[in-house]
């Protein structure tokens, strides 16, 4: 009997230094999928490698042999002795492996629960495997089911709702203030990775002009060029405030760059249009008192972190719902997987044939009222014999075929050919 075997490591089991060493590049994945043919006890394989995880998903006739050869292969291709990464590996077999794949795709196993990239990465990995024809009946079915359930989790639970990064949280708040961010003008004071990321998100949301004010004008020019905006001097901030709607500040200045009076005096010129200050700097750049001015909203880094914490809690709550959905999916998949055994297939095939024969005999007998009891029994014996004769060759073929080659393919074809899965479909 073939088992689904999964061997892998992720951000929980392996430190980043190890993950870096073991990650497969696109080319390496291809090589690995080609080399897979060298292992006759592996019937199918899909290899998933992202910056947070490496997962080798296999269908194998001998589970311990499969695990062993996978480890050796990693060691060989990466040039690292098995003992160095063995402790970081986890292995799942059968139903556990199925559940693990479902959890990974639904982003329940991710570093940030609910992050959306992993599903796309798994789809790419599966595509690579189908191109190399290393995935077969079992893994095809498993991954289709996986993509289906992951999509369902995303749409039916709030697992991907609400931002869990500083810059996204700021964008979300901006939407609660302005509705659409389209055409809103942005002022970036200072520079910094997080602030620049926030500006990029804003531009992606089709915000309007970007102004960049920096202590060193040249640096400001560079950034302004990158955002296709305009550079301004720090002294010009007050003038800019008359125009801009969103201010992102991230300077290294020891004191406040903007105080209450400065903002209060421009609010009139702005005709009180709302203005949103995002203060990412520590120590803070923007006087928190500004938040008390009407139509001015100030969020500092701690406020944004609080928002994120609450959002993460929400996601974790939704994850519980998602786990329940996965339970169902695992059971459904097990039903299908179990039906792949030779005996259940032969039984199902025989039952179907006998049902058809019995039905037709009854139908015929109803219009042949003149037959004696002996005649009737003769007729039934004949149909029974026909069923047996017809099924003899397929049955022996299925039984014998179990010894060599990929049995599951033949069983799957048999089941499809005779439509044996009518009621166990998804």
């Amino acid at each position: 009997m073939i088992d689904i075997v999964l061997l892998g490591l992720n951000h929980k089991t392996a430190p980043v230094a190890l993950r870096e060493c073991l990650a497969f590049s696109g080319d390496q994945v291809e090589t690995a999928l080609n080399d897979f043919r060298k292992y006759p006890h592996l019937s199918e394989m899909v290899l998933i490698s992202t910056c947070n995880r490496v997962e080798i998903l296999m269908a194998a006739s001998d589970r311990s042999l499969a695990i062993q050869s996978a480890k050796e292969y990693i060691s060989e291709i990466k040039g690292i002795p098995v003992s160095e990464f063995e402790n970081a590996l986890y292995t799942h077999v059968g139903e556990d492996a199925v559940r693990h794949v479902f959890r990974v795709a639904s982003s329940l196993d991710s570093m940030v629960v609910g992050e959306p990239q992993i599903l796309g990465q798994m789809k790419d990995a599966y595509l690579a495997a189908t191109q190399k024809k290393t995935s077969g009946v079992i893994l095809n079915r498993l991954l289709h089911k996986t993509f289906f359930i992951a999509k369902r989790v995303r749409t039916e639970t709030g697992i991907g709702d609400h931002a869990v990064s500083i810059s996204y949280a700021a964008i979300e708040l901006g939407r609660k203030i302005f509705g659409s961010l389209e055409g809103k003008k942005v002022l970036l004071i200072g520079a910094g990775e997080m602030a620049e990321l926030a500006v990029e998100h804003l531009i992606r949301n089709r915000s309007g002009d970007v102004f960049v004010a920096n202590r060193t004008f040249e640096r400001g020019m560079e950034l302004a060029k990158r955002f296709k905006g305009r550079a301004a001097r720090l002294e010009e901030i007050s003038d800019c405030l008359k125009e801009v709607d969103i201010v992102i500040s991230s300077t290294g200045a020891p004191g406040y760059i903007l105080n209450r009076d400065q903002v209060k005096s421009v609010m009139r010129a702005r005709k009180n249009r709302p203005v949103f200050f995002i203060d990412i700097a520590v120590p803070r750049d923007i006087d928190p008192e500004i938040n008390r001015i009407g139509n001015a909203y100030v969020y500092d880094i701690d406020d944004l972190k609080n928002v994120i914490d609450e959002n993460i809690e929400d996601r974790n709550r939704e994850a519980v719902k998602a786990e329940r959905m996965l339970d169902e999916a695992v059971i459904q998949f097990r039903k299908w997987f179990e039906s792949l055994g030779v005996v259940p297939t032969i039984v199902a095939l025989r039952t179907k044939m006998e049902q058809i024969a019995e039905f037709e005999v009854q139908k015929t007998l109803q219009s042949l009222k003149h037959l004696s009891e002996d005649d009737r029994q003769a007729l039934q014996r004949m149909t029974q014999a026909m069923v047996n004769k017809i099924l003899h060759d397929p049955t022996t073929y299925l039984k014998r075929n179990g010894c060599y080659g990929d049995k599951s393919t033949h069983i799957d074809i048999t089941r499809k050919l005779f439509n044996l899965d009518e009621d166990t479909q998804n």
Binding site: I177, F178, R270, K271, N272, R273, N295, Y299, V307, E310
Partner: protein, 273 residues
């Protein structure tokens, strides 16, 4: 007609319950069902008022029972219209219960058939009543939107995601739709007052009789005029505008009911019971 009236009241209540549960549960289906019930109730209500209009030959606002029913009708109509315009579904949790309460108040008041006065049969009066009632309904919506704005603004300012934070739309949308309601209400109110003056001239021979109702209407009109003016010149928006919309509506209620109950005047008849 009584049966239709009770049926309509019942439907309004049902729709209110739907909107309130939508507020808590956030299931879109609830909102859709409630809106469908509301439209049904509104159509029934329109038929009832139309029938009375046909019998009386003028808009049926002869006593408080009829006047309140008319208020409820314009309120639900305005909300349905606003739903098309701004898609502010959550506003239903304010507008529809308000409609229902008005209908219940109307239903509790006695209703005697009153003989029709011929001088009520004037086209000016039809315009006067319709414009004033619909204008006041628009002010009621502006007040509701103002309340929602204050909730949302508080949530964002205090950085605490209260019950309303997730449920309410953006401040900008609330502010803009509230302003649209006020402009619409103000326009209708102006038309209402103008047609009222014309009617007064035709019936009593003078435009203005310094009746308390007229004075308070002028005060209401000035409040909204000030609101619009300040917004256009110095940009009174957001919190200030929301608070003023709420105050304005309180004055509207006083002008509509309070003046008739506490002060005397020539609109006395229509709040009689």
């Amino acid at each position: 007609m009584e049966r239709v009236f009770i049926g309509v009241t019942f439907l309004y209540l049902l729709s209110s319950a739907g909107y309130l549960s939508y507020l808590f549960l956030q299931k879109n289906a609830l909102q859709q069902i409630s809106a469908a019930i509301l439209v049904t109730a509104f159509l029934g209500h329109t038929a009832a008022i139309g029938y009375n209009f046909f019998l009386a030959g003028h808009i049926p606002v002869r006593d408080l029972h009829e006047a309140l029913s008319m208020v409820a009708w314009t309120l639900s109509g305005s909300y349905i219209l606003s739903l098309n315009r701004f898609n502010l579904k959550i506003l239903g949790a304010f507008a529809v219960p308000l409609t229902s309460l008005t209908m219940i108040a109307s239903a509790l008041l006695p209703h005697a058939s009153i003989e029709t006065q011929t001088n009520f049969r004037s086209i000016w009066l039809v315009f006067h009543i319709l414009a004033v009632f619909i204008g006041e309904a628009a002010f009621a919506l502006a007040c509701g939107i103002g309340i929602l704005y204050l909730f949302q603004e508080k949530a964002i300012k205090t950085k605490r995601r209260s019950f309303f934070y997730r449920r309410l739309p953006s401040l900008e949308l609330l502010d803009a739709s509230g302003y649209t309601c006020i402009v619409a209400g103000f326009t209708l109110m102006t038309i209402g007052l103008a047609t009222g003056f014309v009617y007064a001239k035709l019936v009593w021979g003078k435009f203005l009789s310094w009746d308390p109702k007229e004075i308070w209407s002028a005060i209401t009109w000035l409040i909204y005029a000030a609101l619009i003016h300040e917004r256009l010149t110095v940009g009174w928006r957001g919190r200030k505008a929301a608070i003023l919309a709420i105050i304005g509506f309180c004055v509207v209620i006083f002008t509509f009911l309070g003046v008739n109950l506490f002060l005397k005047g020539h609109h006395g008849a229509f709040t009689r019971w």
